[in-house]
Amino acid sequence: MKDKINGILSEAKNKISEAASEGELQNVKSAYIGKQGALSLLMKEIPTLDVSLRPEMGKLLNQAKNEVKDLIDEKRVELKLKASEVSPDFDCSVPGIMPSGGGLHPITQMCYDLNDAFRSMGFEIFEEDEITSEMYAFDKLNFPPNHPARESMDTYWLEGHDSGSTNEKLCLRPHLTGGSVRYMQTHKPPYRFVYPGRVYRNETTDAHHERAFFQYEALIVDKDITFTSGKVMINSILSKVFGRDVPVRMRSGFFPFVEPGFEIDMQCQVCGGKGCSVCKHVGWIEVMPGGSPHPNVLRAAGLDPDEYTGFYVNIGLDRLVMMRYGVDDVRLFHSADLRFLKQFR
């Protein structure tokens, strides 16, 4: 009987280790320790044995049964760890389900990126109404009456408000700077603010010209500002937008509301400054005008230009977004075309 037990035990051990699934294991279990299992049947033979052998054989049998049971449990855990709940041909390459299909307009995204950067430098965010008077569009910005620069910004005048003196003539703002004067009139210096907004020019449109486009103005006015402080502002903007330091150059430029005035160019990010069709082969791209607010502008805002000075830049957001993503038609921004907008998430 002892040999029988050991024989069955070693047979069971083999079967357990060979079992490849829980089902097979279950079969092994019933074959050896189930009600009709080999070991259970042997148990029934115990009463037929010599009384002196019964305790030892009973003990052996029970040990064997327990051993098989433990091995089966062990094996079951092992199989569980190895197995999957689904069939092995489950396709993990199917795409996931999009959590939410929405998105902000790419210009809003750019604007918020810049807001975050400037807020971290202690700038406020300012907004102003889009309809303004000629007085704030031009007079307060040191554009003399009849100055050609007034004409360079072809303006949308409002019907019924398109004649008379400059405080009566109303238009869709041709730039943001007039709004900055409003800010300065109603706040106490020092100033440190950014001013994002849409501006309007009565122009013929093409891939590079729009009637409605976005500017981002940043202005700092304090007692001890030099125009070289402006370089910090410019670098912050561009490194935020492009994620790395972008070489810039400041060159002489004329805008009536600044003195001195600059054109600020950045290295063409398409060719890395080597010259390509995007930068007209000069390696640089004009991105923003800048300068120190003209003394007359500061005066218009009620400040003493001998005491205060500042630095200002005005960035064309559309152009920056176009550079960042390689968008080749500025009119797409106002197209409300979801095929375009869905690309920016």
Partner: protein
């Protein structure tokens, strides 16, 4: 403005080996934007002067000839040509293979190749002037006329660029970058700037002197508008072509040569920037008077436009009337005529703003007016006069000056400015020595005296007509001469008084991010003007809506008082590609009312607010789902974006909305917006095909951001709570609002009710007509113990009983 480098070199000695790229770069960095540097000769690559040896008929074409052309180096080539003026012995321009031409001066550039024309091999082509871009320099008199270069005494095979003096560099300067620099509008001005930048000597233009005595005079009756007028009366001139060199330069600068008399005046203007004009002296009766025009006075201009003048115009007149519109354009009658033998040369200075007004009034912007309107200094007349007389004498050796008058009303003095050196250093953010500062300014023609901290500066006259007037202007001159790029960036310092906290700005951003990120909506931008179709369909009324004077298109005149028309247009545009989408826009809207301004009491601006609008469009969802989606976005917005909650009411149907599906949005008893389903009629008028469209619009300016987050903590339930769904039949018009109120209102249906929520409603099969089935989820629990299933059942039964009594509801039997 186009400039010829060889012309600039007449006035400043730029070294032959100068790096032109660097020159253009330096000018761009310090002075004006050089947009292009063109090596002109490249246009004439592979073009030669050829001599036609023999002309033979073409075997297969009547209108073509086969020319034997000597192209130098002993080579005679066959070239097929259809020119009507071909002659043996004629010098012609030959475009050899590789040259780039435009057929008949039109269309895209074409590269010449060896080719067969009607079966005869042709080596390149014999060119007409417009085919090689010279149509303005050598205008053809008739169709198919070949450019005749016989007047150029050069051997066959000479490069065309050499023969025509095209070995030059053209600088293209952005006019916008020099609107403030009248002194730069000419070759001499740019030469002066280059001289200053590189410390090179500038050639002086020697003044013209005369001792002629006569009774020739000029009267200025409008000294406010004419600061100086020099008249020179001359005899011994005639109308003839000017020398090729002069024509060539005028052409390079972008103008067209006309005849010697006119060319001299244009040449002088392009050289020194001061326009000049010549009158036929025999047509000037008595003497010249500069005066305001009389109201209604007529003047026929050189361009054949007859103007009816007004008093604000300045005219040059003789005793019979106006002969020219001062500073803008000459009159047709008295300017240079084919038979002109005596001229009066005008070298004058006019006040800028007046010239500009006149030029704009008659839409007549000319090379002259565009220069005068920048404010030229009157001292420059001396240079213009000297240069004019130099060329008159050179071109007309027989010339006699018979009259001269220089009427200089008010001599322009250089602007005097005091600059504190401490101030200058502070603004520059860099210390420069007195010598450095003085040196940089003197190179630009400034006189500088430094006395302690004060620097007294006298600006040159050519910078004193408005360009340089305050110390900031002087600072700019020093900085740009030093080079903006040579200043290091300096950090700005500031004192922080507290965190920046702009609730209103944050709220708008929160809303946009909520809609885009949480609600899965796409932000769009549309223009502020609205299409009439959508205004009529959606707003149905234009009262109180502002209009543009000159809209982008006739049907885009109204500017928005609501975001909805443009959102509907966006829906229509996108229906082609999408059948289920939601969009929103946040933008300014305008109203023709409540004019006011907080900034200036004389200013009055219309009411301007900001709105947020949205459209939910779908052809795959039912109206119920679409409605609940839109309403859900609105309902959860206050919670997620931290603003005061608003409520829905049903008070006033928006004009565009369906008769049943709409709500008004109220905050503090004030209506701040609407939502609803776009009525079928409206959506048809908009051009929507299959989509159902749900809209909402809120007045963003009326929303109230919370001061801080206001979530409240509630303890977690100590004993389990159970969700228990019941479905009951209600009258079809029973409102969820009332059902909820019956369950959870003041007297709760059961003390054990924690909450009741809407699961869904169903009408249709198995539901009797006039009824609907509503499934409600009850949350049942106790603060004191775990409930038994009997207790839960009994709480639910209480609810059903109450609904039965109050709402006429019955349990669904099926």
């Amino acid at each position: 403005m186009k400039l010829s480098l060889s012309w600039i070199k007449d006035y400043v000695n730029i070294p032959e080996d100068a790096d032109l790229k660097k020159l253009a770069y330096d000018l761009t960095m310090s002075t004006v934007e050089v947009e292009d540097v063109e090596e002109l000769a490249r246009r004439f690559d592979n073009m030669l002067v050829g001599v036609i040896e023999k002309i033979e008929p073409h075997p297969n074409a009547d209108r073509l000839r086969v020319c034997k052309v000597d192209i130098g180096g002993g080579e005679i080539k066959d070239i097929v040509c259809g020119g009507i003026n071909l002659k043996e012995g004629m010098r012609v321009a030959v475009s050899c293979p590789g040259a780039v031409v435009r057929w008949h001066g039109e269309g895209e550039p074409v590269v010449i190749k060896n080719s067969k024309l009607r079966g005869v091999e042709s080596y390149g082509m014999i060119c007409a002037s417009d085919e090689i871009g010279l149509g303005e320099l050598f205008p053809a008199e008739q169709e198919a006329e070949i450019l005749d270069l016989s007047a150029f005494d050069v051997p066959a095979g000479t490069f065309l660029a050499d023969a025509l003096d095209m070995n030059d560099i053209l600088l293209e300067i952005d006019n916008k970058s020099m609107t403030n620099r009248p002194d730069l509008w000419g070759h001499y001005g740019i030469a002066r700037e280059i001289a200053a930048l590189y410390d090179l000597p500038l050639k002086e233009i020697k003044p013209f002197e005369t001792d002629v005595q006569s009774d020739f005079r000029v009267e200025i009756e409008a000294p406010d508008r004419c600061t100086r007028y020099i008249g020179v009366e001359m005899s011994g001139v005639s109308v003839k072509p000017s020398p090729y060199k002069m024509q060539n330069r005028i052409w390079k600068a972008g103008m067209r040569p006309i005849n010697a008399l006119v060319d001299i005046t244009n040449y002088v203007m392009l050289a020194v920037g001061n326009p000049t004009h010549a009158f036929d002296a025999d047509n000037i009766t008595d003497h010249i008077v500069v005066r305001h025009a009389s109201e209604g006075e007529k003047l026929l201009l050189l361009n054949d436009n007859e103007l009816t003048l007004c008093e604000d115009d300045l005219v040059i007149t003789d005793s019979e009337g106006p002969v020219a519109l001062a500073g803008v354009m000459g009159g047709a009658k008295d300017s240079i005529l084919p038979k002109t033998e005596r001229v009066i040369l005008e070298v004058a200075n006019f006040e800028a703003a007046g010239i500009r007004r006149t030029a704009l009034r008659y839409d007549t912007r000319t090379e002259a007016s565009s220069r005068y309107e920048k404010a030229i200094d009157p001292e420059r007349c001396d240079q213009a006069l000297a240069l004019s007389m130099h060329y008159f004498k050179e071109l007309y050796p027989e010339l006699k000056v018979t009259g001269f008058c220089d009427n200089y009303v008010k001599k322009l003095e250089g602007a005097q400015i005091d600059v504190s050196l401490t101030w200058l250093e502070k603004r520059l953010g860099k210390h420069l020595t007195d010598d450095e500062i003085q040196g940089k300014l003197e190179k630009l023609g400034f006189e500088v005296q430094i006395d302690g901290d004060n620097m007294h500066v006298t600006a040159p006259t050519w910078r004193s007509t408005g360009d340089i007037s305050i110390k900031d202007d002087v600072m700019e001159e020093v900085a740009r001469m030093y080079g903006y790029d040579n200043f290091d960036a300096t950090a700005f310092t500031t004192s922080f008084t507290g965190a920046i906290n702009q609730k209103d700005k944050s709220l708008v951003r929160n809303i946009k991010e909520y809609l885009a990120v949480r609600c899965g909506m796409q932000e769009v931008y549309t223009y502020p003007w609205m299409n009439d179709v959508f205004v009529n369909a959606v707003l149905q009324n234009t009262d109180g809506i502002l209009r543009l004077s000159t809209p982008p298109a006739p049907d885009l005149g109204y500017i928005r008082s609501s975001l909805l028309p443009n959102l509907c247009e966006a829906v229509v545009k996108n229906e082609r590609y999408f059948n289920d989408f939601s969009i929103f826009e946040e933008a300014q809207v305008f109203f023709d009312k409540n004019y006011t301004s907080v900034y200036d009491e004389t200013e009055s601006l219309p009411e301007q607010r900001r709105h947020i609008g949205a459209a939910f469009a779908s052809s795959v969802k039912d109206i119920n789902t679409l409605f609940r989606e839109a309403k859900g976005v609105l309902e959860y917005m206050p919670r997620y974006t931290h603003m005061e909650a608003y409520e829905f009411r049903k008070e006033e149907k928006p004009v565009w909305a369906d008769n049943v599906v709409w709500l008004n949005i109220y905050l503090d008893d004030q209506k701040i917006g609407d939502m609803g389903l776009v009525a079928k009629k409206v959506s048809m008028e908009c051009g929507v095909k299959n989509l159902s469209v749900m809209l909402f619009e809120l007045d963003t300016t009326k929303l109230k951001p919370l001061k801080s987050r206001t979530n409240k903590f509630t303890h977690l339930a100590e004993y389990p709570e159970t969700d228990y769904d019941i479905s009951m039949l209600f009258d079809a018009d029973a409102a969820w609002h009332d059902i909820y109120d019956a369950i959870m209102g003041k007297k709760k249906a059961s003390a054990l009710l924690k909450d009741a929520s809407f699961v869904d409603e169903y009408r249709g099969k198995q539901i009797p007509s006039g009824k609907k089935s509503v499934t409600i989820r009850l949350t049942i629990g106790s603060d004191e113990k775990t409930l038994t299933s009997q207790e839960i059942e009994s709480a639910a039964n209480q609810v059903m009983k109450k609904l039965g009594k109050k709402m006429n509801a019955e349990l669904r039997t099926q």
